[in-house]
């Protein structure tokens, strides 16, 4: 066992936004692990990694790192070969510079090939060094490279940026401070406790002390522990108020990252009922309190109690002093919301529909009113194919669906998330049918409860996707600013959940027709949609090769693809399917050049007078025998039955391949056998392209 030490890095900062913390520490941990791996410790090089944070610190502990790194040689890549050597085969200036930069001479250079092409490489032999020196070299650049959604400058150095200013650096390897170079700061063994409860510096002698010493200074640095405490305190407080906490996962995550030492404060909405807030819709109340005060609400028998719970960051809080202000501010926000709602109801959504004509929806595509009209037409046409679809309900819902975007309520920053819900509330209060309100309220969700809601939710997203593609802003790589992928996934989920007989190509054609442009983008949009369907299906735990096999023949109707895959899963005959696949791969290979899989209608019939082996006859008879049942099973979408029928002729195919030689000299016989195989293949293709199922070994 090598001699080891534990490593601690704490980057003390001014308050970093809640959503930045976890990704930053995770990145730091991953990168440091990579670097440690690269300097090559044998076997299990180091112990546990603890990733921790509060708004004021990013903290990483790595246990048991050996004191010395290993000596090891490795290749490092330089410029492309064509730049590294001249016409005479001599190293160029670029190659020499590369060598110089890595402190090796030309003899260490060589040309090697990797997946990207030919490059010059330098062989570098690392020296065994003190891990301390390695850490001192590595840590500063890691700190600078931590990715953040937004970065800022605060020093005179233009190049130094971070999420917020760095206040201190505490870095220890064992009991030794890692004194790395950093602009205007010197790493030390000092950290700081809670800003108000324990502002003095704390000395950390060993990394292991860090968690407890911070706790003594009113900082719970481990987010999991903070979270546990928050949930426990919230539940206790809710119980004390005679109700139970309304869970809000995102909010719990957020407040965990907003405090160093949580303390829950129960507040009252005094005068709640007097002021008419009892009429305030639950969603509005909850959103106002969550967005503005990061506060939780309490319910009893499904009704909100006139209280709210704030998670403060004040260990020495005096509740009597703090409570009135939280309450006043909350009430003032609710008053605002109440004012907006009253104004909006006075005006009514119908009037706002007219105003949609003045609002641009997507630049170069149309106004919001255009969208409303297209939404209406598209949905009516998609819904017309369904049995349970109330056209009047849909038309009314679509007509009013977008008007809430222009209401005072939704235009307020903290209530934008109530789009749809606000529309539902307003239509409900102005006496529209409940079905209409329901559809409006569910248009942005992915779990609508009626077909009208489902069609509205799908049509809206189809229009968004089409318009965004048309104006040239499709998702690229990790960038998907309009969340089109999520929208497409929602379309698939709704279609499958609601068992909707929707056809992607028809729906897309209708969408583009309504918008009146974008024909040239049709291919790209269609590919995007099927790609999302493929991902959606694999996310349902269907094996990707089954998904490939089904989508190859039935990719246009998501629900139908889903049914086919469910039959595969239900039958659960993986081995049998693989055997079928082996046979179908042979068929596919042998018929590839002569018999098109795309246009099976043109596959010629074999001539049974030309059969001269039993196996041929038997296969043809079996295929003919199952065909009527197969077709009626397909009509009834009974894919389980269809699969069973297909599986039943598998032995005949295997036997055929065992006994019959297809590629005989005599052309007539050969062609006839190919016709036979192609015909059998066509039966399978009615369900899936089995040749795409992966056969291992």
């Amino acid at each position: 066992m090598p001699d080891t030490r534990t490593f601690l890095l704490e980057i003390g900062t001014e308050e970093i936004p809640a959503s930045y913390l976890e990704p930053a520490v995770s990145w730091l941990a991953e990168e440091l692990k990579k670097k440690l791996d690269a300097i090559g410790y044998p076997g299990n090089p180091y112990g546990g990694v603890k990733r921790m944070w509060t708004p004021r610190r990013l903290t990483l502990i790595v246990e048991d790192i050996p004191l010395m790194t290993l000596r090891k040689s490795y290749l490092t890549q330089g410029p492309p070969a064509k730049v590294a050597k001249d016409a005479d085969g001599n190293w160029t200036k670029a190659a020499k510079k590369f060598a110089e930069r890595h402190g090796v001479d030309e003899s260490a250079l060589s040309i090697e090939e990797n997946e990207k092409g030919r490059y010059v490489f330098a062989k570098i032999i690392s020296k065994e060094e003190k891990t301390y020196d390695f850490l001192a070299d590595t840590i500063p650049s890691l700190i600078f490279k931590i990715p953040f959604p937004k970065r800022m400058r605060w020093l005179k150095y233009k190049t130094v940026t971070f999420a917020r200013p760095i206040s201190w650096l505490c870095c220890l390897f064992g009991d030794e401070v890692v004194k790395f170079q950093f602009p205007e700061l010197t790493p030390s063994n000092k950290t700081f406790g809670h800003r108000f409860a324990h502002p003095e510096a704390i000395t950390i002698n060993y990394p292991d002390e860090c968690i407890q010493k911070l706790k003594d200074a009113s900082v719970i640095v481990d987010p999991a522990e903070r979270r546990k405490q928050i949930v426990a305190e919230l539940s206790k407080a809710a119980k004390k108020l005679g109700g139970k906490l309304v869970e809000h996962e995102e909010l719990i995550y957020e407040v965990t990252n907003l405090v160093e030492f949580p303390r829950v404060l129960a507040c009252d909405l005094g005068g709640f009922t007097d002021r008419g807030f009892a009429n305030l819709p639950r969603e509005v109340l909850q959103t106002a309190l969550a967005k503005h005060q990061h506060a939780f609400v309490v319910e009893k028998k499904g009704k909100l109690l006139p209280h709210f719970l704030v998670v403060t960051n004040a260990p020495k809080l005096e509740p009597k002093l703090a409570k009135p202000w939280f309450e006043r501010m909350a009430i003032s926000r609710l008053e605002d919301a109440d004012f907006f709602i009253k104004e909006d109801l006075k005006k009514g959504l119908e009037k706002l529909v007219d105003e949609e004509a003045r609002v641009e929806w997507v630049k170069g595509i149309g106004t919001l009113l255009d969208k409303t009209r297209w939404l209406t037409d598209l949905g009516v046409s998609l819904g017309s194919k369904m049995d349970a679809f109330n056209k009047d309900v849909y038309e009314r819902a679509a007509h009013l669906a977008k008007a809430d975007l222009l209401t005072n309520l939704v235009r307020e920053k903290e209530f934008t998330s109530l789009q749809g819900i606000a529309g539902a509330i307003y239509t409900e209060r102005s006496g529209e049918k409940p079905e209409v309100s329901n559809a409006i309220g569910q248009q942005y969700t992915d779990s609508p409860t009626s077909n009208e809601s489902a069609i509205l939710a799908i049509s809206d997203r189809l229009l968004n996707i089409a318009a965004t593609f048309i104006v040239g802003k499709p998702p690229k790589g990790s960038s998907d600013p309009f969340a089109l992928r999520r929208q497409a996934a929602a379309i698939m989920k709704i279609i499958v959940d609601r068992e909707l007989p929707l056809n992607l190509s028809t729906a897309l054609d209708q969408t583009l027709q309504l918008i009146g442009k974008g024909e040239e983008k049709r291919g790209a949009i269609y590919d995007f949609l099927t790609d999302r369907l493929r991902l959606f299906l694999t996310d349902q735990d269907f094996a990707y090769d089954w998904v490939d096999a089904v989508l190859a023949v039935a990719g246009d109707e998501p629900y139908d693809s889903y049914l086919r895959l469910s039959a595969f899963r239900e039958l659960d005959k993986g081995e049998e399917f693989r055997l079928v696949a082996v046979g179908q791969k042979r068929v596919a290979n042998i018929t590839r050049n002569t018999h098109n899989t795309r246009n099976t209608r043109n596959t010629p019939l074999p001539d049974d007078s030309l059969f001269d082996q039993n196996e041929e006859k038997e296969l043809w008879e079996k295929a003919n025998r199952i065909r009527p049942d197969l077709d009626s099973a397909l009509d009834a979408r009974d894919y389980r039955k269809a699969l069973e029928l297909l599986l039943s002729i598998r032995p005949a195919i295997d036997k055929f391949f065992d006994e019959v030689f297809v590629m005989v000299e005599e052309e007539k016989v050969r062609t006839n056998r190919l016709h036979l195989l192609a015909k059998v293949r066509d039966e399978f293709l009615k369900v899936a392209d089995f040749s795409r199922i992966v056969v291992e070994g």
Partner: protein, 300 residues
């Protein structure tokens, strides 16, 4: 318990505190602005690489926030105390907290947070990162490390503190509304915010929402926009900047009157930003002496 600070005492305490920390006392700007940042002591002084520290009170006039004096926390005109510290000091947060302690607030007994809030002024082409400071859930200060102003990267990062002194006064005096804030004593009589400003609020609300002449405002906007561009070419910095500020206020009024559609809104903001950027460039680079757009500068 000691007598709570009056509004004027709060102003004096904060001014004293910041003067003591090396700030010069400036005065409000002479034209309507929506925020203290529009005062040239902020907007222009942050653009160069010379240190600058100042403190001043600014009346912020926001037509859209007018509420006919019916909302306790929303008003046409509220008061900001603006502090610029350039370069931003190392102990910015502690310095700031010191100013709250100077007002006698026992911070450890309250819940004080620095809550993410990335400030941005699209009309000024300005943005920065920082926080809203919340005291028991009340936003009392905008705390921003400016990164860009007038579309220019700042060579020396300044700290901007914008105190909502009305809210701080409510907090200290334990009153529910701006209008109940005790402003000060006048010959032994207590004067409140409402005594001085309640009627103004009603009048300006009516003006902002009902009476402002939108045709005139549009024409004025166009006029000052052209004027600004012309003055920038002449290198007349402050008159050009005055025109930017006027355009911004006309835009705010038109917006409150509902005379600007959503699409037009973005476009109009961009027009103001373009002017602000031109003036910022003029301040940093000086007049463009090479070009001779109107053929008026002749060689001797």
């Amino acid at each position: 318990m000691s007598k709570p600070l009056s509004f004027q005492e709060i102003i004096l305490r904060l001014q004293d505190y910041w003067i003591d920390k090396g700030c010069v006392l400036m005065q409000p700007y002479s034209s309507e602005v929506g925020a203290g940042t529009f005062n040239p002591a902020s907007f222009l002084k942050v653009l160069d690489d010379k240190p600058w520290r100042c403190v001043y009170v600014e009346p912020a006039k926001r037509p859209r926030d007018a509420r006919y004096a019916e909302n306790p926390l929303r008003v046409y005109q509220h008061w900001q105390m603006q502090v610029i510290l350039k370069p931003a000091p190392e102990d910015s947060q502690e310095l700031y907290l010191g100013s709250l302690r100077a007002l006698g607030i026992p911070l450890e007994r309250h819940d004080l947070r620095f809550t993410e809030d990335d400030w941005e002024s699209p009309t000024l082409g300005a943005w920065g990162l920082g926080w809203q400071v919340e005291l028991d859930g009340i936003e009392i200060t905008q705390f921003t490390y400016f990164q860009q102003v007038g579309g220019l990267d700042l060579p020396m990062v300044p700290l901007e503190l914008t105190y909502g002194i009305g809210r701080i006064a409510m907090f200290l005096q334990r009153v529910d509304s701006f209008f109940s804030i005790k402003w000060g004593d006048m010959g032994g009589e207590t004067l409140t915010w409402g005594d001085v400003f309640l009627q103004n609020e009603k009048d300006f609300s009516a003006y902002s929402f009902e009476e402002a002449d939108t045709d005139y405002l549009r024409r004025s906007f166009d006029h000052y926009e052209a004027e600004c561009t012309r003055l920038v070419k002449k290198g007349l910095l402050m008159p050009a900047y005055d025109a930017v500020v006027k355009c911004s206020h006309f835009f705010n009024l038109l917006d409150a009157r509902g005379a600007i559609s959503v699409t037009e809104r973005t476009a109009t903001i961009l027009r103001v930003r373009k002017l602000a950027m031109a003036v910022a460039k003029l301040y940093v680079e000086g007049p463009d002496t090479d070009s001779d757009p109107e053929g008026e500068v002749k060689d001797a």
